[in-house]
């Protein structure tokens, strides 16, 4: 379209520039702080340009927070959530979309409702379940009298115990327990033309064969989209790991570690606040999901929009 709007174009760039500056400034300042030493950071006026202390600060923050193991843990948790979600979502959506059976709508809604309540809202009881993941089943057996029956008939004392505190399973499973990915998959499966299913059936493919040979190869972009979103979601989890992990040395994740770096009375004991270290650590922790979002932008945006959260 031929449209000459030089003034508006200039204004457009100006507005966008102002917006971008507003977005960048806080992180820029944090970055600058991470590149100066203790003294420079705490002296007014504020530094606006990076110094040369980034590397030493990073090294010190890394050692201080014992980031090595924690980064490994963060990656394990994020990848665990990604793989778990994708697998569960794919299987569930496949069963719901490609099979007709009684109770299908009930199951559909049972899964749908989990979208309503984020983990943060039901944090207290979820924590109690994590202390013993089998407690729901124990309670059900107690109520229904199965425990009593087993006890009196076979002499077995039923006491199911599976403590998830301080474990990767405990970090991962509750984060998998929502329907986000299921709906992304369902949307996608519903766009598969009926004739493709029929062609596969005519070609002799059973349901699992169809899933493996046709659906999964076709849903590659879907998987990429879901993977980026879930990686960012899992990496950035804070409240849940804060609660479920008390053994930080072995199971701590990096994002939780940030809370220890807040330079308040507790950490500095009244000394000069160590902002340069806190900011250096922040930079390191932020980086992996940001890189994912930037490099996987196309899939990330698509996934976000299609899941509608």
């Amino acid at each position: 379209m031929i449209e000459r709007t030089p003034i508006l174009n200039l204004a457009t760039h100006l507005i966008l520039a102002v917006g971008l500056v507003l977005i960048l400034v806080p992180i820029w300042l944090a970055f600058v702080a991470a590149t100066h030493d203790l003294q420079a950071v705490n002296s007014a006026p504020v530094e606006f340009w990076p110094g040369d202390q980034l590397w030493p600060n990073l090294k010190e923050a890394w050692a201080l927070s014992d980031f090595g193991q924690k980064f490994v843990n963060s990656f394990i948790v994020a990848i665990g959530v990604v793989v778990g979600k994708i697998t569960l979502a794919c299987l569930t959506a496949f069963a719901l979309v490609f099979f007709q059976f009684r109770g299908r709508m009930v199951i559909f809604w049972a899964i749908f409702i989990t979208l309503m309540l984020p983990l943060e809202v039901r944090i207290v009881p979820t924590y109690a379940v994590a202390a013993n993941a089998l407690s729901p089943f124990q309670t059900i057996m107690d109520w229904t009298g199965i425990s009593w029956l087993l006890n009196s008939l076979a002499g077995i004392e039923v006491s199911l115990e599976w403590n998830l505190l301080n474990s990767y399973t405990g970090l991962i499973l509750p984060l998998v327990a929502t329907a986000t990915g299921t709906f992304l998959y369902r949307q996608f499966f519903l766009t598969i033309p009926d004739e493709l299913v029929e062609a596969a059936r005519m070609d002799g493919a059973g349901p699992l064969r169809f899933l493996w040979d046709i659906l999964i190869p076709l849903s590659k972009t879907n998987i990429a989209a879901l993977a980026t979103i879930m990686f960012v979601y899992a990496w950035n989890q804070y409240l849940w790991p804060l609660l479920v992990v008390t053994d930080r040395a072995n199971y701590g994740v990096v994002v939780v570690q940030l809370s220890d770096l807040v330079p308040d009375q507790l950490t500095t004991g009244g000394g000069t606040p160590t902002w340069h270290l806190a900011m250096a650590a922040t930079m390191v922790v932020m980086l992996p999901p940001i890189l994912i979002v930037i490099f996987m932008q196309r899939w990330f945006v698509r996934g976000l929009i299609n899941t509608d959260k």
Binding site: H13, P26, F101, R201
Partner: protein, 293 residues
């Protein structure tokens, strides 16, 4: 739904079992548990439960601190939503003009979505710090005027700005996607009718964004209730004087620091109802949108 199906077989329960087990254990059971606790009084980790009816709710609702928490949560929700959506909408409208550098602008605005809430909180903690950040400049001019840990309104302002900063990217992505889904022919028709770019923004693009706008409104408010924990915990710690004690934060501190499971459960139930009500509105809306497109 679709007309082509496989025959039901033993595969189906196997496919569904993992998800259903996980959801039951980590979603339905805890939610039911919260209900149970809300109506009983329980000692943390064992001990007896006694049925107390609505007593826990009465106690929570007669607690002035609770109402303070509700108040600041509402302020936080509205303020972050308005700020974030306003900024996101403006940026999306101008990025959508697709001038030179379009991709760069887009990436520049999207990436904050990936920043963890506590990292946002910590970064803003530095920025707003009375001794070290840019706001320390104010204090060199007028010593002691700016201090988050002393003045409630400053603390609230700080979490609102940090929260809004984090939310901009999300709304931006949706606004931009909605703008780009407006058919090109529509824009061209408006141009043939003599509408210039700004005019088209007002007459064409904004009205067509209405569904997205309402969708984002609900999502942003819901998120502000649930997603704020990390920011508050690293930026203000709920203080000063409980001025930034948002609802989720209070549930956490009552439940895990105060070991008041029943009180925390009652608060959880109230928050659940609130979030469900908001989500319900959204589902109804989403339902409608599905029908229209």
């Amino acid at each position: 739904m679709r007309r082509a199906h496989f025959k039901f077989s033993w595969i189906v329960p196997l496919l569904l079992a993992p998800q259903l087990l996980v959801i039951f254990t980590f979603f339905y059971w805890p939610s039911a548990q919260a209900l149970y606790w809300a109506f009983t009084l329980e000692q943390p980790w064992g001990g007896g439960n006694t049925w107390v009816g609505l007593q826990n709710f009465r106690k929570v609702l007669s607690d002035p601190y609770y109402w303070g928490s509700v108040r600041v949560s509402v302020i936080y929700a509205l303020a972050t939503t308005v700020l974030a959506m306003g900024m996101a909408l403006t940026l999306a409208l101008f990025v959508d003009r697709q001038l030179a550098g379009y991709r760069a602008w887009r990436v520049g605005i999207i990436w904050p979505y990936a920043v963890a809430a506590p990292a946002v909180g910590l970064a803003f903690n530095f920025v707003f710090n009375p001794g070290a950040g840019i706001f320390s400049v104010i204090n060199t001019l007028s010593p002691g005027w700016w201090d988050l840990s002393k003045y409630p309104w400053q603390a609230v302002t700080a979490i609102v700005i940090a929260g809004a900063w984090k939310q901009v990217a999300y709304s931006f992505i949706f606004f931009l996607a909605a703008l780009q889904s407006i058919p090109r022919s529509l824009t061209e028709a408006a141009a043939m009718d003599g509408a210039r770019p700004l005019r088209r923004m007002i007459d064409l693009q904004l009205p067509l964004l209405t569904p997205t706008f309402f969708f984002l409104l609900v999502i942003n408010i819901t998120d502000s209730f649930t997603d704020s924990f990390g920011i508050v915990d690293t930026l203000t710690g709920g203080g000063p004087f409980r001025a930034t004690d948002l609802m989720v934060y209070k549930i956490y501190s009552d439940g895990f620091r105060g070991f008041d499971y029943s009180g925390a459960a009652a608060q959880s139930i109230i928050l659940m109802c609130l979030v469900m009500a908001l989500t319900f509105i959204q589902f109804r809306y989403v339902e409608r949108r599905v029908h229209y497109t």
